[in-house]
Amino acid sequence: MRAPRWIAAGLLAAALGGASLSARVLERLTPARGRAEQLLYLPNGRHLRVLSLGHAPLLADLIYVWAIQYYSEYDTADRFRYVRHVFGDVIAELDPHYIDAYWLGAMILIIEARDLEGGLSLLDLGIERNPDQWILPYLAAWECQMASRPECAKRYFERAAAVPGAPPITRRMHAALLARTGALEEALRLWLAVLEDPASDDLSRAIAKRKVSEVRAKIDVSALRQAIETFRIDNGRAPHDLAELRRRGYIREVPTDPSGQPYAYDAATARVTSAAGRVLGEP
């Protein structure tokens, strides 16, 4: 009767050993779940807010600090999968006015994950909940500008500049972008607004004064070039000088550049230039 008991015990031990060994081998053979999967256990901020019993901002801070450490681990392959969840659905739900969370989440998405749309959507969420904060549309505008999307940048700069109390740099950046994209009349209007605004600081006013001159010169040169081109089509030749454009009714008067000097005109090449043009990068 003793032998079968020993055999049964031996079989059990062998089965236990076999199960342990095969489990370990399977563990090695199958890929482990990504580290980011642990974020699945981070509940939505709306639920955490209820559980926090009035300490939602502190909980938002703790998760924010934890997120900084988490996203500083560069060896996690799938670390960008839940950025929107962590910053948008958790931290921003716990503390909708936590500007740093929108900012940092968007920077991680745009700069590290190369996901401009994802970053902009997080910033949009922050802008919607904090319409009195100019910094979020300003950051969005910068990111659009860096991504060579001027229309998108224009939209956000305009929004940042419209926030009451926004610093003059928002309007300056907006005006500079408009000038770069060729919307000269609009840029001139904005630079004049900065120049004439009593709330503008000295630096902004000095920059605006210079920019008004440059943009005006650019508008003049552009108008003269257009008039010369029309003259050439009508007459089969370029005008001898700029005064001829005025005499023949192509312009109302010959403009002078911001320094009061006449614009230089080369009849041989039919090109108009100005000293201010050099500042503008004109040939």
Partner: protein
């Protein structure tokens, strides 16, 4: 010889309660608070990016609230029970002291302990912020509302202290604190319950429980947002009236209590 006024007895017992709490080393919690706030404000520079002051303010205000609730619950629930257990209540009530004066004095004494705590913790927080070049002046409304909340919790702790033993009283007071922060959910539930007794019970629960969630304005204050006009005054009135009602119940319960 001057005839003692009702308030004299209240002041004397309240002062004694205050001294007793100080002797029980309750104020040691202040040291823990100071270490927590000052250390965390130092540590934050290493582990975070962005506005560190916001985190120091959140941490400071939450710590003031949590430490205060801890004192209100754990000191409050044993206030009356201890006097009965030590039999000092017999000596006291043998004097020309009414039972309502005793209850009121116990409340006033503990509220004074809490007020001193809150003020000292606020000063510590202001110091920690000052070391970072920031100011804590804008946080005063949130600190005041925390004190209003603590007064309500203390009144409940005292009420339960007159009714039962400290363990049960602590559980009940904690339950009031939790349900006070979640009472808004009864409103939501009422909308989903068919009209009738169920809905009526939800609505009644919503209005009867202390609405502690409405008093929590920490986030707005830290972000420098404006509170609605008259909010502090109405909150203070709400807190004062609620405390008066709960204390009246506590006095009633203590009046009916028989000592053997």
């Amino acid at each position: 010889m001057r005839r003692p006024r009702p308030l004299d007895a209240v002041v004397a017992i309240a002062l004694n309660t205050f001294r007793e709490a100080v002797r029980d080393r309750v104020l040691y919690l202040l040291v823990a608070f100071a270490v927590l706030v000052i250390l965390s404000s130092r540590l934050l520079a290493m582990v975070t990016v962005g506005n560190e002051e916001k985190i120091v303010k959140d941490l400071g205000l939450s710590a003031i609230s949590i430490f205060g609730v801890g004192i209100a619950v754990f000191v409050g629930v044993s206030l009356v029970f201890k006097e009965i257990e030590r039999r000092t209540v017999y000596t006291l009530l043998a004097q020309p002291v009414q039972r309502w004066q005793f209850v009121l004095a116990k409340f006033a004494g503990l509220l004074a302990v809490l007020a001193v705590h809150v003020v000292l913790m606020y000063v510590t927080l202001a110091f920690a912020l000052w070391m970072r070049g920031a100011t804590a002046s804008g946080l005063a409304p949130a600190v005041w509302l925390i004190l209003v909340e603590l007064a309500i919790v203390t009144a409940f702790a005292l009420l339960f202290s007159t009714l039962t033993n400290p363990i049960l009283a602590a559980v009940w007071t904690s339950a009031v604190y939790v349900s006070g922060h979640l009472s808004w959910s009864l409103r939501l539930l009422a909308e989903r319950v068919p009209p009738g007794a169920g809905r009526w019970a939800c609505e009644a629960g919503y209005w009867i429980l202390p609405n502690l969630d409405r008093l929590d304005r920490k986030a707005e204050v830290v972000h420098g947002l404006d509170l609605p006009a008259g909010f502090i005054a109405w909150s203070t009135l709400y807190g004062a009236c609620y405390v008066a009602l709960v204390l009246a119940l506590a006095c009633l319960a203590f009046e009916r209590r028989e000592f053997r």
